[in-house]
Amino acid sequence: MNNFEILEYIAWAISFLLGLWMVVDLIRTNRAYSEEVLLSSREGDIDDALVIDPTHQGGHR
């Protein structure tokens, strides 16, 4: 097995792990919250009160 083949296996492994992570998180999220909450988004919502935990700015009002 040459170095490039090892690289290929690493690529498959990372892809598998990331894919698995997304599927597991999707299932856990679906179970943790009601459909009513998950589907509560409305088109063009621009109410600043809905902006929770802005990741980087601590709010932008």
Binding site: N2, N3, F4, E5, L7, E8, Y9, A11, W12, I14, S15, L18, G19, W21, M22, V23, D25, L26, T29, A32, Y33, S34, E35, E36, V37, L38, L39, S40, S41, R42, E43, G44, D45, I46, A49, L50, V51, I52, D53, P54, T55, H56, Q57, H60
Partner: protein, 461 residues
């Protein structure tokens, strides 16, 4: 129920954290790969001069697209972009079709980018002396990694795009300066340009690939529901994006046409990287290789963002199963749509030929541009200036819409010259999808709920 994030009023929405720089990164990021590869097939169709004409004709087409989009999107600030616009301005069947155009244009482009990235890694492996190297692991890794990034949050995703797109653009500028464009020492345009070898028909045929210089700039609209200030950020990001691309496209043509004969340039896989190799500078070779990789990554990344928003917004309106209209309470992304589109992209990238995938993407985009010209005329007719607040008003209406429609007609003919069968097959696909929507799916659509804009009744109704 274990709820780990506080949700105000038990309601979640997409996160509004993006600025004009992210909008620029989304639009230019999707497109810039077209400068690194693809545009040069226009040279093969009609010669280098034809490719320059195609560059500027397509530039005019996309300037019209950017102006029209800026006005309509700054007013209809909703995820789904042109889909949401069509829903409010034209009608449900048009919206459904536009939504499909968007999803297929971006998903196919994402698949094409993944194939290209896999090919580049495979080439590096072969050049390094390894035998039996495969591209498939890197194709799948590209799609899954970028989907994961998109799943984790829009801010990190588009900040990543901003950085790699800026590096890819700066690489072109550095190469342009390095070939000393003011003199004839490096560039040999005098000797290499040979007029129009296939006449004006070659010019028309080259327009098909001229679209590559700009294809995807309209993707800025998909960020509409996640920007902090839609009326400001969307026009600013979109217009600076098209200006960036006009500059990058012209510089790219000038560099490559001055370094390579048209017979080679017309079929090169990575023309800008080849141009860097011709300078004999290791620094430039590395820089342009990095630029090629980054531009491909940025394009795939932006495509995942845009396709998932279009799919999500169609689900939210019941145009597709409502299950897709969910927002992740922590990451605030349309997580189900992102995950659903991963296998779709992987299947196309894994099994479909690159040219077919690209043509499907171009034709879906072209159908979307055709719709835009009708859309903006209806928008101005139903809600004339002054009746609703607009973030941007595009000048010379209806001239840009008419120019856009005329250029789309020319481009259909150009595509028909090379890919007539695919054009017909794709039309049949969209007609069948429309019949499915009209006779089966439309009964699930909540007709009143989908109109969310606080606009007055349209003129004439």
């Amino acid at each position: 129920m274990t709820q780990t994030t506080a949700v105000h009023g038990e309601k979640v929405s997409l996160l509004r954290v993006l600025g004009p720089g992210h909008v620029w990164a989304l639009g230019v990021g999707i497109v810039l790969v077209g400068e690194y590869m693809g545009w040069n097939f226009a040279v093969g169709k009609g010669g280098a001069l034809a490719a320059l004409i195609a560059c500027w004709v397509a530039g005019l087409l996309y300037t019209c697209v950017a102006m029209i989009d800026s006005e309509v999107t700054s007013t209809v600030a909703a995820a789904g972009g042109q889909y949401a616009q069509a829903k409010h301005i034209v009608g449900p069947l048009a919206a459904f079709n536009v939504g499909l155009f968007l999803v297929f244009a971006y998903t196919m482009l994402e698949a094409a980018n993944a194939i290209t990235l896999g090919y580049l890694v495979q080439t590096v492996g072969t050049m390094a002396g390894f035998e039996g190297v495969h591209d498939k692991p890197f194709i799948v890794l590209t799609i899954v990694f970028l989907a994961w990034l998109n799943y984790r949050g829009v801010y990190a995703t588009l900040t990543f795009n901003l950085v790699i797109t800026a590096i890819a653009f700066i690489a072109i500028v550095i190469l342009f300066a390095a070939v000393r464009p003011w003199g004839n020492e490096v560039l040999k345009l005098d000797g290499l340009l040979n007029g129009l070898p296939y006449g004006w028909l070659g010019v028309v045929a080259s327009i098909h690939f001229g679209l590559w210089y700009y294809l995807g700039i309209e993707g800025t609209c998909q960020a509409a529901e996640e920007v902090r200030s839609p009326p400001r950020s969307l026009p600013l990001g979109t217009m600076t994006g098209i200006i960036t691309l006009l500059i990058a496209a012209t510089m790219t043509w000038y560099i490559c046409s001055g370094l390579m004969p048209w017979e080679y340039l017309g079929q090169a896989i990575t023309p800008l990287f080849d141009a860097a190799r011709l300078t004999d500078s290791t620094f430039l070779m590395v820089l342009l290789f990095v630029g090629t990789m980054f531009s491909t990554l940025a394009s795939a990344n932006g495509c995942i963002n845009d396709a998932s928003r279009a799919w999500f917004s169609m689900g939210r309106d019941h145009y597709l199963p409502v299950w897709f209209g969910a927002v992740h309470p922590k990451t605030r992304t349309p997580y189900r749509s992102i995950v659903f589109l991963v296998p779709v992209a992987v299947v196309f990238a894994y099994f479909a030929p690159l040219d077919q995938v690209i043509t499907f993407s171009i034709l879906s985009g072209l159908l979307g541009y055709t719709y835009m010209s009708f859309n903006v005329i209806m928008f101005r007719t139903k809600w004339p200036l002054g009746t609703i607040k607009r973030g941007y008003e595009h000048p010379f209406h209806p001239l840009p819409a008419i120019v856009l429609l005329a250029l789309c007609a020319v481009t259909y003919f150009a595509v028909f010259l090379g890919y007539g069968t695919q054009l017909v097959a794709m039309m049949v696909f969209y007609i069948i999808a429309s019949l499915w929507f009209a006779f089966h799916r439309y009964k699930f659509v909540r007709r009143g709920d989908q109109f969310t804009m606080a606009w007055p009744r349209p003129q004439g109704y």
